[in-house]
Symmetry: C2
Subunit: 180 residues, 2 copies
């Protein structure tokens, strides 16, 4: 059933993606798009049947568990609908990537998970065993990194598969490089 390029199972590439800090959902961050576009143009190229992309979007829960402080939660159902709405936002984000793959005929899967991105990415790598992991990064200096977290650096060190980090192009970098 699964057609390949005749060279064994497709190469499974996990691509970690997040939402834009500037435009919010459903827009992917600049670095997620860069990582995705790089994967297509430099690795997959014309070999659509030779690769399978596993998109993973990890949603960070608010510290207090509330996404909108001005909302009123009057019943357990309200909380449930909030969680569902979060998940739907995540799915809308993934739609961008899945649609693009579908148009090209590249097999893919997409997942939304909750938690600390660096931990969840590494545990999903363990579970799904991709051949490699692609993560975007903002290309910040050491000082900026301290305040932003370093998901890509953590994954390079701890993920249980080869990891490649793709920086945004300089011309796509917003005025404040911490934005994405």
């Amino acid at each position: 059933m699964a057609e390949t390029d005749g060279y064994g199972d497709p190469t499974k590439i996990m691509v970690a993606v997040n939402e834009s800090s500037l435009k919010g959902y459903p827009h992917p961050s600049i670095s997620s798009r860069s990582a995705f576009e790089w994967t297509l143009s430099k690795l997959v190229r014309s070999n659509f049947s030779g690769f399978k992309l596993l998109f993973l979007h990890v949603q960070v829960p608010d510290e207090d568990g509330f996404d909108d402080m001005d909302s009123i939660y009057a019943s357990p159902a309200d909380f449930k609908s909030m969680k569902e709405r979060d998940k739907i936002r995540g799915l809308h984000l993934l739609e961008f990537f899945v649609n693009h793959c579908h148009e090209l005929g590249i097999k893919c899967e997409a997942r939304v998970r909750k938690g600390d991105p660096k931990d969840v990415i590494c545990s999903e790598v363990k579970r799904l065993q991709p051949d490699m992991l692609v993560v975007g990064c903002r290309g910040l200096g050491p000082f900026q990194r301290v305040f932003v977290g370093t998901v890509s650096e953590f994954c390079v060190k701890h993920a249980n598969c080869p990891v490649i980090t793709i920086r945004r192009n300089a011309d796509e970098c917003p005025q404040d490089p911490i934005d994405d």
Copy 2:
């Protein structure tokens, strides 16, 4: 003249390779072979015209400049022949990789350079601008790494292109993991 898969210039992958610490020249180290085989099976796959491999072998000069302490150097010509012999050893190592590519019909180039591997690799990345760099690594723990140097870690941080580090398979690891 240059045929590709119809998706623009081939993806240029630089692969840094070294000799086996156990078997010496012309045998490639286990981690170099792993990195090469991974590149072929997971990235190039069937798309032979979509990729071009740039092999780079960096020879480390002995601290005292002598490779064989029991040799006699009686004239400038002796030193010259020593240097040429080193270079020939490096070329024999590269032959393994180039032959393999040639058999498959994958375009490649191969270079021998002298110097500190981590610096030379990074400067060759700047000069040749590959789309990505593949480096093998022994998968040593932090304590072992201190004594062996960490070419792969240095390149991940400093090379001017995306870098992917490929570990040896556990079953290919020699008794002493520092051997390669």
